[in-house]
Structures are given as C-alpha cells and as structure tokens.
C-alpha cells in the first residue's frame, strides 16, 4: 500500500495541519508515514503545502513530484498543482475560493465548497477538515476513527470539545467523495 497526497493552500488555511493529522492517523494504523511541509518566511499568507506519504513498506523519497491526489485550498495552489497530478489521479478543490475551471480530462475532479460548508456547520475554521474528510473518504488511506485520533493527538489537551464538530466536518467531506 502506498498513498501519496499533496495538501496546499495559503498560510493560515490549515493545509499543513490536515497533512499532519493524516500522517498521524497513518502512524496510529502502524503505517510508515512522512510529512514534508514547504513554506516561506511568513507564518501567514504565503503558499504553504505539504507532501504526505503513507505506506506499509519503507518510504523512499519524501518528496512528491506527481501526486496521486492533490487537495487544493486556494487559486494559486490550483494553478501550481493541477498540471502535476498523476494521470488517472484526482483533485479536490475548494470551490468557495477557487474560480479556475478544470483543464484536464485525464484526472478526476471533486468540487468541495468547503468554506461555505464550514459556515453551515457554524465554524469557518473546520473548512480544512471537510477537505481532509473528502480525501480520506475517496482514498480509504486510513479509517476515519484514526483521523479523529490523530487530530486529538495533534490538538492536545484542552481542545477535546472541538472534536465532535471536526468529526462532523470530516464526515461531511467524506460524503462528497462517496457521491
């Protein structure tokens, strides 16, 4: 088993966080995992993306040149990664913020208006979780319970009360992939 995915957005959108949570979920399931973040000097605003690889074998390069799946949160990331997705792969993109239209016919596209959906849930902050849920629902890379456990581990003590809302966001995303 080998899963390679890129999460990308602008700094502050939480692309790096969901990458980390996915990697943690992988380790919880006894998989090998790598998470490689790329960002600039600034904590917010610049492009921030991460490569996440899960495998039951030893992982070679942690760098993904052509991802099976790209999960895209903003316009700039769409333009950057759309050409790089592997033939036959998939792209999840945030139609709440991205106006670009798909240009390829050899990959599958999933429209996820995650900011609007998050507002429906009452908290804009979980937009990234909806995208992560969509990816997990599509790839079946890990079980959703492992994602929840990974998130708990990442958030640490004192934030447990946000877990049910995040779980809801994850499920909402997964439902899109199931369509």
């Amino acid at each position: 088993m080998l899963k390679e995915v890129i999460f990308s957005g602008f700094g502050g959108q939480g692309a790096l966080l969901i990458g980390q949570v996915l990697a943690m979920a992988g380790v919880i399931e006894d998989l090998n995992a790598t998470y490689r973040p790329t960002y600039g000097f600034e904590k917010r605003g610049g492009v921030a993306f991460c490569d996440v690889i899960l495998s039951d074998e030893e992982i070679g390069t942690p760098v993904i040149e052509n991802p099976e799946v790209a999960v895209i949160m903003d316009e700039a990331s769409f333009k950057r990664f759309e050409p790089l997705v592997k033939k036959g792969g998939a792209m999840f993109y945030n139609t709440s913020l991205i106006s670009s239209k798909p240009t390829r016919d050899d990959i599958e596209y999933f429209e996820v208006p995650c900011n609007d959906m998050a507002k429906e849930l009452g908290n804009d902050k979980v937009a990234n979780m909806i995208l992560l849920g969509a990816y997990v629902g599509y790839s079946k890379a890990v079980a959703m319970d492992s994602v929840e456990a990974g998130l708990k581990a990442k958030l640490g003590h004192g934030k447990e009360k946000t877990i049910p809302l995040n779980r809801k966001a994850l499920e909402m995303g997964a439902a899109i992939a199931a369509k």
Binding site: N32, P37, F41, P62
Partner: protein, 356 residues
C-alpha cells in the same frame, strides 16, 4: 514503538536518550525546534539548557561542558556553523568531545531557509585553522538521523573529538515515523573521562588536568599534530559508513547522501521499470569518506552520477575516489528547490548513452 515526530525534535530527543546532558544554542531557521524542544525536555530530564547570546558563545559553552567530560551539543545552520569554526578547531586541538548538528539551509550568505546540502565543504573541509578534521555523519532518513546522532556521541568520546551530524532542512522539518532508541548506554570501549576531564581541584596524587590548545614550543606542537594525525587515521580506518545498493552489474551508479539519496531511490525504481540498471552509493559518513568502497562499488558501472543539493562539492570526493577511471556526470538542484527523481533518471539515461 514508532512515533510520528518532527525531524528536529526527534533528533533532539535521540540526543537526550544518548546521554546528552548540556545543550547550548542560538536560534536560526530551519533548526529552531531543536533549542525549543531542548529548553523543556532536557531540563525535565535533569540536564542543562542555555540559550546562548550567539553561535560563537554556543560553541564555547559546549567547550566548557565537554571539558568537564559531559555529553554536550549544539545545533545550528550553515551561517551559525560558520561562526563556530574557531570553536570547532579549538575543540579538535584541546581534544574535547562534543556533537554539532547542522540543519543545512541554502547559501551562500543568508541564502534561503529551505533545504540544501551546500555545507558539504564546510563540514568536511572545515573553516577553522590548522590540521584538523570533523568526523561527520550524513543521515538520509529521520530514523537514521536519530540513530547516528546517538552514535555521534560515542564517536566523539571514543576519539575525544568534535563530531558533526549534517542533515538538510528537509530532514529537520519533515515529520516521519521513528523509533528512537531509549536510554542508550555509552560504547563500553570509551575510555574513562576521568583520565582527562576537569572536575575542580586536583587528583589525589596532586596532578592537575589542563584543557589547552596553546603551545609554547614549536616542537611540542608539531609532535601533538602528529599524534592528532594518527587519531584521524584511526577514525578513517574504523568509522567509515556507507550504504551500497544494487551496484553489481549496474549501468549507472548514483552517488548521493541525505534527502538526495532518498530521491535517488525513486530514480532507481524508474530505472527498474524502464530497463536501466541503476545502483547507488550513499555515504553515511562524509568525513571520513568511503573512497575505497565507492571505487569498488563502481567497478561495473559505465558511468557515475553525482547528485547533490550543492554545486560540485560532493563531486570533489567522488573524483578523488574514482581517480579518473569512470566518466562522471552531475545533477543538482539548489537553495530549497528539490531534486527531481525524473530529472535524475534522465541524467542517468544520458550518461549511460554517452558512456557507451
């Protein structure tokens, strides 16, 4: 048990598990998680963390603690390591053990904060004065980085020398599942530190321990240099580490270390899929360098591809190893632009064709 950890934090934890008792450091990206982690974790484990006023101070604090026979370390990135060079040659000359972690960023000068391997010359050739070397490990995965920083402390104390560990910023900043060996005991062959370290006062026989690198008499300094050279010969003899893969009957052998070597593994896979036999020699120590092992491993190859995130630095050692016996091509990306397995593969194909 495997845990998902950030590179810099995992390396720091591994150092503590290998008995590191004192850490001194100055913030510099991309290694800030090392001092941040040490600031609470080392103290929790009964050690001492000090945030130094500069890298110049860090290395001299390490000197003081190392002189007392304690496992001490610092970490930095190329610019900071540059500031430490006087201290590193001083540790070599006073024979004080310590470990230096360099999480490499792009240079020269301020450069970038992203991954690079352009400090190869800095670590293997050094910027300090005099006839000294810095034995240096160059791990490729986070697991190996943890294992080798633990080994670095043993090497430092076995030979009473400063030892380097260099990783590119990818390894420092990525997260990976690792299994850190806990409570690692020192190699039993390490001589008792009490034979040389300062403790305060003097021994029962009235003798005093002096840690010094200054000589009044040229002949004494010359004799010391000859002794030091013998020590480096011993390190060359015993401490070379190299990982050799699929070199027998290979068309092309890639020489690479660190993250570049991981990317090269992907290139080897592409070779397998397309019928080009690609092997790899991956130095795990860059000083001492595996010259003989490299030459031997490349025996069957039509050509050798030297891949690095630097311009022709590793190449110098590859040339010294091959002594003109094989065509050598190079592939590099720089300053945080990651090497591409596909491009590396294309370079292999081109080399194989031209070398025929």
């Amino acid at each position: 048990m495997k845990k998902l950890m950030k590179g810099n934090e995992a390396i720091a934890e591994a150092a503590i598990q290998a008995g590191c008792k004192c850490y001194f450091g100055y913030p510099i990206t991309p290694q800030n998680e090392v001092p941040e982690y040490m600031s609470w974790r080392l103290r929790e484990m009964g050690g001492v963390f000090k945030q130094a006023e500069s890298e110049v101070a860090s290395v001299n604090m390490v000197y003081g603690a190392g002189a007392a026979g304690v496992r001490a370390m610092t970490s930095s990135s190329g610019l900071g390591i540059a500031l430490m060079q006087e201290g590193i040659t001083n540790l070599a000359s006073t024979q004080v053990p310590a470990v230096f972690l360099n999480v490499m960023r792009g240079g020269p000068g301020l450069g970038t904060i992203q991954a690079s391997q352009a400090d190869y010359n800095q670590m293997t050739r050094g910027g300090g004065n005099g006839d000294y070397y810095l034995p240096t490990y160059a791990p490729s995965t986070l697991q190996e980085a943890c294992d080798l920083i633990q080994k670095a402390f043993d090497t430092a104390f076995k030979y009473r020398t400063p030892v380097g560990v260099m990783v590119d910023a990818t390894i420092g900043n990525m997260m990976e599942s690792v299994d850190i060996k806990e409570n690692v005991q020192p190699d039993p062959s390490i001589p008792d530190v009490n034979e040389w370290c300062i403790r305060g006062g003097r021994r029962e026989d009235g003798s005093v321990h002096r840690i010094k690198g200054l000589f009044n008499v040229p002949e004494e300094c010359e004799a010391f240099n000859e002794e030091l050279a013998k020590k480096y010969d011993k390190i060359r003899e015993n401490e070379v580490m190299v990982d050799i893969k699929d070199c027998e009957g290979a068309d092309v052998v890639i020489v690479a270390y660190g993250t570049t070597a991981r990317i090269a593994k992907q290139t080897m896979k592409l070779g397998k899929e397309n019928g080009l036999k690609i092997g790899m020699v991956r130095p795990q120590t860059v000083w001492p360098f595996p010259y003989d092992e490299l030459r031997e491993a490349c025996r069957d190859a039509k050509g050798v591809l030297c891949a690095e995130m630097a311009i022709d630095q590793l190449l110098q050692d590859v040339k010294l190893a091959l002594e003109g016996t094989k065509p050598i091509a190079t592939y590099h990306r720089l300053s945080g632009v990651m090497p591409s397995a596909n491009d590396m593969y294309d370079a292999c194909v081109k080399l194989a064709k031209e070398a025929k």
